[in-house]
Symmetry: C2
Subunit: 310 residues, 2 copies
Amino acid sequence: MEFKLTVLGTASAMPVTERKQSAQVLQVHGRFFLFDCGEGTQTQLLRSHIPSMKIDTLLISHIHGDHIFGLFPLLSTLGMKKRTAPLNVYAPTNFGPILKFFLSYFGEGISYEIRFTPLTMKEPQVVYQTKKIAIEAFPLEHKIETFGFIVREKEPDLNIDKDALERLHFTLEEIGTLKRGEDVVREDEKLIIPAAEVTYRPYKPRSFAYCSDTSVFPKEAEWVRGVDLLYHEATYLSELEDQAALRHHSTAAQAARVAKEAGAGKLILGHYSSRCSDKSLYEAEAREIFPETYAADDLDVFEIPLEKLR
Amino acid sequence: MEFKLTVLGTASAMPVTERKQSAQVLQVHGRFFLFDCGEGTQTQLLRSHIPSMKIDTLLISHIHGDHIFGLFPLLSTLGMKKRTAPLNVYAPTNFGPILKFFLSYFGEGISYEIRFTPLTMKEPQVVYQTKKIAIEAFPLEHKIETFGFIVREKEPDLNIDKDALERLHFTLEEIGTLKRGEDVVREDEKLIIPAAEVTYRPYKPRSFAYCSDTSVFPKEAEWVRGVDLLYHEATYLSELEDQAALRHHSTAAQAARVAKEAGAGKLILGHYSSRCSDKSLYEAEAREIFPETYAADDLDVFEIPLEKLR
C-alpha cells in the first residue's frame, strides 16, 4: 500500500546538465501516475527503476515544451515495447491536436489506445477514480492554461474490531451492514450494535498535490488544504519576486506560504531557474516560513508511510 | 582550422541509461554542423561545451523518433536564448509538416528563421557550400526515406612558394594568376613561370561521411570513397545479421567492409542495439576487417588533424 513520489526532473525551461525538466511519478496502490513529461523522462524512469509499461495515467499540467517534450519519445518507446494496455492522458484541451499530430507522424508502432480527456474545469473536479483513490484537477495561474492535480486515497473500508468479531459472532450480512457504517439490529436478541463501537478506519487516507508552473493565487491554499505532500514549483528566490510575477511563476517563499496556509504535511520544491541551481538556497528561504520543506533533486523519493489507526 | 567530430549519442531506438540517441556535431572552420538530434541532444551539447547558438546547419537523416525527438526542445531553447541567426535544416520532405506543426504549437518564442531544404536526391548531390567546404547528401537504404551526408573541405587556395616570391617579385596581378593555377607569362622578359613550379596546396582537404540507419548497399562504398572519417551505424553484431537485414540496419562487420572498400581513413561505429551495449564486441568484430575502427561512446571526440603539404 505504497504512496511514493519520485521526482524525475527539477529544472525549469532552460536546460542544464545537472537536472532534467519537470516530471514526477506517484506510485500508489500498485498504480503509477506520471505528472508532466519533460525531455529525458523515459531515461529518468529507467534510472528510477520505474516500469514505464506500468504507467496507468499521464497528467499534463500545461503545453509548454519543458513539461511535455519527453512525451513523444515515451509514447514511441511504449509502442516499441508492445504495450497493449490503454494509457489515460489528462491534459489541457490543446493537447488534442498535438496527440493527433504525433499519431499521424509517429503513430505507426503505437498499438495501444491513448485515452485523452481534456481538462476545462474552473475549480477542483474529480477526473479519475478507482476503488482506492480519486484524482482531482484544478486550474492554476500561469501564462497559458495550466492545471494542478491532487491524488487522494479514499477513506478505507471500515474494519471490524477483532474482539467484537469473537464476542458477537456476526453473520456475513451483519458484517456487510457494519462495513457500510450502519448499526446492526438484532430484533430477536433486542440488541442494537452501533457500527461506531465495533468498527474502525484501518488507516488515514494520504494525499499528494502537484502545483506546477503557477503564480500563487488566493484559492490555491484552500484547494490543496490538508494534503500530506505538496509539490509546488519554486522557480525563483524572493530576490527575483518581480521576475516570478512577470512570468507567472512562484518563489520559494510564496510556495512555503501556500503550504503553511494549506496546513500541508510536507512541501517539495522544484522547477529551479537555471540562474540559481543551488537548491539549498530555495530550501533555506522556504523553511523560514514552512520548516517541513524539501528542495528536491532529480530522482529523490518521498514516501508517505501508511499511518495505521489501530 | 579544426575538423572535429563529437559523437553525442550512440544508442539506437530503445532507450538505455548509459547512452543517448543519435546526434553528432562536426566542427569545421568555425562552423558547427549537427547531424540528427535524438532526445537529450541539447544536454549533450552542454556537456560537450558545444555552443548550441553557433550551430549553423542541421542535417536530419530520417524522420524516426530516435533521430529527431531532441529537435523540438533544441529549437525552443534557441528561441529562449534569443537566437536571431537563421538555422539551415536539411531533412527528408516529410520534415516540412513536422516543422509547421512545431511552429504552430511551440513557435511563439522562435525569433529566428528556420530555412528548411527538403532532400529528394537519388544520388550524391551538393546541398550546401561555403568558400571552404561543401556538403553532399545521398540516399541510404532504410525502412523509410533516409539520407547520408558528406562534408568535404574544398581544395585550399594555392600558396606561392616563399623562395619564388623572393626571387621573382610577383605583381599582385601575377599572384592572382598563379593562385588560380594559371602560368604567368612575362612577355617583356620572355619568361613563362609555370604555376605548378611556384605554387603548392597548403594542406590536404579533409572529409567526413555520416551513414546513419542503413543496410549496406552496392553504391555506398563508392559514394563515400576516400573519406578520412566514416561514421557508419552498426546496430548489430554479425550473429544478428538476419535482424539487421530485416530492420534495414547494418552489422559491425558490414560497416567495416564498407570502410575497407571505400578506402576510408578511420571508421566510427555507433547506434548500438540495446541488446548488446558492450561496444568492445562491435569494435573487435569490425577490426578484423578494418583495423582503424573505433566504436564510439557518447561524447567521444575524433579529430582529423590538418595535414600540411609543405
